[in-house]
Amino acid sequence: MTDPKHYRKHTLSLLVENHQGVLAKIASLIAAKGYNIDSLSVAETMDPTVSRMTMSVRGDEWVMEQVVKQFHRIIDVIKVVDLTDEPHVNREMIFIRVNAEPANRAEILRITEIFRGRIVDVTPTTYTLEVTGEEGKVQAMLELLQPFGIQEIVRSGTLAIARGSKTVPKRDESRLRVAGRKQAVAE
């Protein structure tokens, strides 16, 4: 029914109850069902009783339908939206500690400039850079810096927000299009 060849990356935005054990519930589900999670980020929202999770998951339409439904089944999950095919902005932040020999320092600075990155720490032999962007940009930056010798990277995982004035509401479940539930959602 499903073939990993046709998997693509989906960005899910979840609103969940902000209390103990909720992240563990989500993690248990991911592990139990064997979903392919690329990244996951969690933080409190404006409403301190609610947290937002942004998740990158690989799957085809059939897998994603199950992922979304399974997350919905967790009682502490308030809302799940697949932003992938909706207009949205997504960003990732990355810290890169790269070897910076005197001969290479200028070139590294130039690359950082082109990618609108910043140097956040300097030692006699290294630079630590901060870059924010879409996945492709971050990947390109990493490839360019590879020849100098990357010592360490730290990535935030993808964050995403829908474009326009619509917010992902806390309630009002049935209105917002939820991925894969097009036909299944009852009134």
């Binding site: 248990s28 339908e65 959602v185 009852a186």
Partner: protein, 577 residues
């Protein structure tokens, strides 16, 4: 009014309408048990916590009322895991309260401490850790609401000792509950219902495939109306048995691995499968790529995750089975179609299958007892009493499903999804506690019964007159059958010839023990057992190597069905050589 957590707990149980609790006390839950003495609750002290959970499952399934169990921390709580998983798989509305060590020492490996909320995360529908005494009413209200609404399931509430001993203002039990992440759909989408009705009205070879959802939704009347209205032949899953009277002319028998030839052929040849509250378990579908290849599928289920989980569905309808069937029947009543004439060819084909491939066994008049015969006789003798039947897991369970012919909903208790051996007897115990005056029969295996038989003493203590029939072949019969059919008859660890004398065992528990050894004994012994007051254990000594047929071997397509006497294809050999 400032009350202790335990008092609040008991008041909430009363407000929830709980009268019967199954449980086992211990250190961390002592305070609750102390307060319980002052409340008019019937507590049934089991002898093992696993039994408490299966008993509340039986209590729920038989009565439709949410079951309640209380156990202590650590081992008390971990002994409930099998039952919780069983309840999750078979959608049983139960609430389990576990004691917990005081919050101050949680995480410090205290005596009888276990991370119960962590351990039960994946085997409950939802679980709670009470962290403030004043939260208890809200938590208990939500626990019962979650357990019984939507797709029913087990909910666990972990109660640390200091929380139940602490005091808080009790403002009464909440009347309403609103959980923002939990809004189960109830009504089916009208557009989807119309689409379903159109498909049903134009199908030439339709089949109705009903599941446990009909029982949970108390929708067997609406279900029967659908069958009568459309004249569509109907099969049920193991969990759905009882949703349609087995004397109904359109009844095909159970489907699946050990279902009837006709029911399975109908599924394989149908052009429309109308699935009402099942979940397309692998024991039903067989090989997925072959399942329903030429059929459109309508699937009604309250749990959206069940839809399109295993098979492609053309018309999904999320909603409560009872409501959806009411809507669907109303829609179908508008259809002008002479159902009987239009489906005559299909009915003819089915009658032909039924004539050429009936469910049969042969009982030699002087030979050893055939298990099928024993169960058939139990049915013949007891059917007029409308008894509640429970089973263990294995061959006897499948024979009971085939030959007991459960006629009414909530009369058939069995562990379907998890296949938990040892389920039958405790489930019967729980059902008997819900219906003290009803005939409750456990059709058990010798292997299954030995897993939980210690609780015979609980039946004696509380005068729960369960009648237990052990279909005794002195083997782990189903495993032996697979070893015979698929592993070249190399029997590995299935011989239970060394076993207790079940008659004397019953007597040791102050119950009554009976034994049937020849086919002529069967009927009089059954009559004697059901007319004897109190719990009775009947050891039905059966033919040892009888096999359960038909069988669709695991992973095979429906057309690969093997009936009694058929050769076993070489490709099914899984053993070592």
């Amino acid at each position: 009014m400032r009350l202790t957590g335990s008092e609040i707990f008991m008041k909430c149980l009363q407000a929830e309408g709980v009268h019967t609790i199954f449980g086992y006390p211990g250190g961390a839950i002592l305070h609750g048990y102390d307060v319980m003495l002052d409340y008019p609750l019937r507590h049934i002290l089991v002898r093992h916590e696993q039994v408490a959970i299966h008993a509340v499952e039986g209590f729920y399934k038989a009565s439709g009322k949410t079951g309640t169990a209380i156990v202590t921390s650590g081992p008390g709580a971990t002994n409930t895991i099998t039952g919780l998983t069983d309840a999750l798989m078979d959608s049983m509305a139960i609430v389990v309260f576990t004691g917990q060590v005081p919050t101050a020492v949680m995480g410090c490996d205290a005596f009888q401490e276990a991370d119960v909320v962590g351990t039960t995360r994946t085997c409950t529908k939802h679980n709670f850790l009470a962290s403030k005494t004043e939260d208890l009413p809200q938590i208990i209200k939500e626990a019962y609401y979650i357990a019984r609404s939507g797709r029913p399931g087990p909910v666990l509430v972990d109660l640390p000792k200091d929380i139940i001993m602490g005091r808080a203002e009790f403002k009464g039990y909440p009347e309403e509950v609103s959980i923002r992440g939990y809004n189960p759909s109830v009504n089916g989408h009208p557009g989807q219902i119309r689409k379903a009705a159109e498909l049903i009205a134009s199908a030439r070879r339709p089949v109705i495939y009903g599941g446990g959802g009909i029982i949970h939704a108390d929708a067997s009347a609406e279900f029967t109306e659908l069958v009568n209205l459309t004249q569509i032949p109907t099969t049920l899953t193991l969990m759905g048995l009882g949703a349609l009277d087995t004397s109904h002319p359109l009844w095909l028998g159970m489907l699946g691995m050990h279902g009837t030839y006709t029911a399975n052929m109908c599924m394989a040849h149908a052009d429309l499968i109308i699935a009402i509250g099942p979940r397309f378990d692998d024991r039903v579908t067989g090989k997925l790529s072959e399942f329903g290849k030429n059929a459109k599928i309508i699937h009604v289920d309250i749990d959206p995750t069940s839809i399109r989980k295993n098979v492609h569905v053309d018309v999904p309808i999320v909603g409560d089975v009872k409501r959806v069937l009411t809507q669907l029947n109303a829609e179908l009543k508008k259809v002008k179609r002479d159902w009987r004439t239009e489906l005559a060819e299909w009915h003819g084909q089915i009658a032909e299958w039924q004539r050429t491939h009936p469910l049969t066994y042969y009982q030699h008049p002087e030979g050893r007892i055939k298990p099928q015969y024993a169960i058939d006789q139990i049915y013949q003798v007891t059917e007029e009493h409308d008894p509640i039947i429970s089973t263990g897991v294995g061959q006897h369970q499948m024979w009971a499903a085939q030959y007991y012919r459960a006629r009414h909903p909530r009369r058939w208790l069995t562990s379907g999804g998890l296949g938990t051996m040892g389920f039958g007897f405790p489930a019967a115990l729980g059902a008997q506690a819900a219906f003290p005056d009803k005939l409750v029969i456990d059709i058990d295996g010798d292997g299954s019964f030995q897993m939980t038989m210690q609780d015979l003493i609980t039946c004696v203590q509380y005068n729960l007159p369960v009648k237990i029939f052990i279909i005794n072949n002195k083997y782990l019969g189903m495993v032996r059958q697979w070893q015979q059919l698929f592993y070249g008859k190399r029997y590995s660890q299935v011989d239970l010839e060394i076993q207790p004398d079940f008659v004397r065992l019953a007597e040791a528990f102050s119950a009554v023990g009976l034994r049937a050894e020849r086919s002529g004994d069967v009927k009089p012994i059954i009559e004697k057992a059901i007319s004897t007051p109190g719990p009775v254990v009947v050891d039905v000594v059966c033919e040892r190597e009888e096999n359960c047929f038909p069988i669709i071997p695991a992973g095979c397509a429906i057309k690969d069905i093997i009936e009694a006497g058929d050769p076993i294809p070489e490709k099914l050999f899984q053993g070592w050589r």
